[in-house]
Amino acid sequence: MGTLSYASQRNVSTAGRTVAGTHTRGDHYARSVSVETLGPFAVFGDGFTVDVPTGSSLAQLAAATFSSLATDAATSEPLRLRAVVAPGSPPQKPLLAIEREDETLAVVATDDEALDYLAWAVNQLAISAGKERYTLLHAAAAATGDGAVVLAAPMESGKTTTCTGLVRHGWSYLTDEAVALDPETLRLHAFPKALTVDPGSQHLFPELRPDHEPDDGYKWHVPPATIRADAVVGSAAPVWVVLPQYVHGERTRLEPLTRGEAVMELAQCTFAFIERPERNLQTLARLVRATSCHRLVIGSLDEAVRLIGDLCERGRA
């Protein structure tokens, strides 16, 4: 087990303890079942905390992973997530129970699995909290001083990869998972979770490799401050809608979309569209009227970032 991956992240333990040093999971968890609470964190105004074994390697990883969601604002009854040693777990090879309030989500054997489940639970919280107030898109978003690009697409289409490339290129980070579009103001609100870099894209970002080296096949949870200390922006006005689609070996290109085509695609990417269809359709229609809409076929990340940058330049011209 390596040292803390993202040493620049501030510790967010409410207990005021500094999570420092390194423990092997088996060694530490076998000695202690005490728990520390990380947080409070918040997504779209809803709070959550994370209980982890005190001083453990998982505590370090979770503190870093959720650091960009830390809040000083009081949230009433924050959701309580827990990754704690499972009852009856063998001391020599302790298992971790992942819990959301009183519900056990999974029992896992490694920190990487635990972190994936915790991150998934936070995404679920973001969806349930965000879909009421906002038209919530399954999308990534990044911004420049000129405005934001919404990268909307199904899973495995290249949203996070493109977004990470843009942030590395100097763009500000809003989210790689859920874009909150305010129906009143049409502003995008950030859900600046750690960027989830899938194994297939990790070779594109060697500088972001976590020090603790997750097992092969696991996602990297990259706090945005790892890319740049001031990477996160709280909100931005949308200027471009881009629907990425990774196609191995394909020539990277932008293709214009009609506004009607864009709305149909965005509706497919809207969380719980049918719960508020009128509001969501009206908001999406306003979004595409206010933006230029394109499909982005991605064969090369660098080229994709360049093309989105060109859109930005064209807007200035």
Partner: protein, 120 residues
């Protein structure tokens, strides 16, 4: 994620069922109107429509959206064809040949209904 079922382009992607098409052809003189409770967003020459009964989203291109617009106030398809023929400077018969299958598709999708149903 709960997403709407989407007919990508109602006018092109949804082929009218033979029965529905025949019914409309037979009833070209029947008055039709836009179904109630639709959510309609106009986007340039396209229209995106949410149809709540089937929970489907439809994208209509120019000709289909023209038919939908024409039936905001209920009228017969013959009347629609006459109006569009005048607007586009084309023969009524030719326009009617285009309007019939489009109206059939829109009827099958629940975007149009017989005018008498609008009164109930």
């Amino acid at each position: 994620m709960t997403s709407p079922r989407a007919a990508r382009n109602t006018a092109e992607a949804t082929r009218p069922a033979g029965e529905a098409h025949g019914a409309v052809r037979a009833a070209a003189g029947m008055r039709l109107g836009v179904a109630p409770d639709l959510v309609v967003e106009e986007l340039d020459e396209e229209v995106v429509v949410w149809e709540p009964a089937s929970q489907q989203l439809h994208r209509l291109d120019g000709p289909a959206s023209a038919v939908l617009h024409s039936l905001t106030a209920p009228q017969t398809l013959e009347q629609v064809a006459v109006a569009l023929a005048e607007a586009y400077g084309a023969a009524v018969e030719r326009i009617l040949a285009d309007v019939l299958p489009l109206a059939s598709t829109l009827l099958a999708a629940g975007l149009l209904v017989p005018a008498e149903d609008l009164r109930t």
